[in-house]
Point group: C2
Chain length 245, copies 2
């Protein structure tokens, strides 16, 4: 029966998250280009955990306190004082295995903090590279879900919306979805799914322009490919970890 | 040259309007079901002006001060103390010609007030019923544009997004559009344009559910039809008026 199913909503921007009942929901943090893709990749490749922080200075401070690798970019370059960037290709298993990564991201970390401040039941991180793990988890939990797009400085972006649509496409029969944003996300994904890369290239979306101008088409292609790093990423006690369930 | 064109952005919710440079732009207030459709219809049918207000009590107060018709609904019924509802069919020319309408709407009026507070250069009201008038005006002005969706209590809705997409579909070559929300809106419209009514019915969007449960399918069909009340609606000195340019 429809009414017995848990609800699913999509928040297209952190500036809209307050409209949804975060405290009764699992919140999926979505930052496809590239934070949550890189996080899933590093954990899939054996990183012990990832500590997300919101500023370069915080990243440097924590990096000095614990044995870790610091990473983050500003304007497409490794930020001054940090060691590595935001590309998933920087974190193969021979490099990241067994290590802790302290990663500064702007949009994703802001959304994560908002989910924490609003007492989200559970927080996980999602991207195309771990799509199946996210969907399996959400179906199994039988709880309300909010798909939270990190967006770009609060402006709605297409790549995070497409990922929300991909999740909805796969799990919608298990949820009651009375949410126009979710229906928009699924419509977008239906249009794009035959070739996600071509879709965002043809639309010339904002983030494609930014990243391709830095020569990062390879990153974009990776970040749009399903299940290349298919681990469930859960936020627990200040850290993102890979978890089986 | 691309860079010489004025910019066009779409704000999918009033909660996102602050992200855009309102003070340098024409803001189009979009509340397809049914406020801006009814406003255009009343003006097309000869109403002298429409005074938009945000509460029933304000509507009653102004109705007592000036010779006017008061209108507004709450939960699908004419609000207590007011004379008429939000349906465009309530305002034929033999009734509304030469009269002033004081109309209370929630979402549309909130967005209008935000545009005023942020010193919008010009404010106009748009809906499918005056699509061509809106597009002609925007092309002629050669100024930056923000398509402002009134949404539903700040939640993004599909019908206002579709109208933004319809405008973009018609005028995009005259503007520089670096805005994922606009690209989403256009994609949605491209999907829906063959039969807007069937699209929102099949998606079972939130507002379709609300209005069709009140037997208002006829209103929805009207509000999704282009150019049935093709007047330019401009906000000036507290009133919405029809204007030639």
């Amino acid at each position: 029966m429809e009414s017995n199913k848990p609800s699913l909503f999509t928040s297209l921007s952190p500036a809209l998250l307050h409209l949804y009942d975060v405290s009764s929901s699992i919140v999926v943090i979505i930052d496809v280009l590239r934070a949550t893709s890189t996080i899933a990749t590093a954990l899939h490749n054996g990183a012990r955990s990832i500590i997300p922080v919101d500023s370069v200075s915080e990243c440097i401070r924590i990096g000095k306190q614990i044995d870790s690798i610091t990473a983050g970019e500003r304007d497409g370059k490794v930020a001054e004082g940090l060691e590595h960037g935001n590309s998933p290709f920087e974190y193969p298993s021979e490099f990241i295995g067994g290590k802790t990564l302290v990663l500064t991201t702007t949009n994703g970390t802001k959304l994560l903090q908002m989910a924490l401040d609003n007492n989200a039941k559970t927080i996980i991180a999602g991207a195309f590279v771990n799509l199946t793990a996210v969907c399996k988890f959400l179906i199994a939990q039988k709880q309300n879900v909010i798909l939270g797009c990190a967006a770009w400085k609060d402006r709605v972006n297409i790549e995070d919306t497409l990922f929300a649509g991909a999740v909805i496409h796969k799990i919608k029969k298990h949820f009651s979805i009375n949410c126009d944003s979710s229906k928009m996300a699924e419509t977008m994904y239906d249009d794009a799914k035959a070739d996600l890369f071509e879709f965002i290239k043809e639309k010339n979306i904002s983030h494609y322009q930014r990243l391709s101008s830095f020569g990062l088409e390879k990153d974009i292609r990776y970040c749009l490919t399903e299940d290349l790093a298919n681990v469930l990423v859960v936020y627990e006690e200040g850290k993102l970890i890979s978890k089986t369930f």
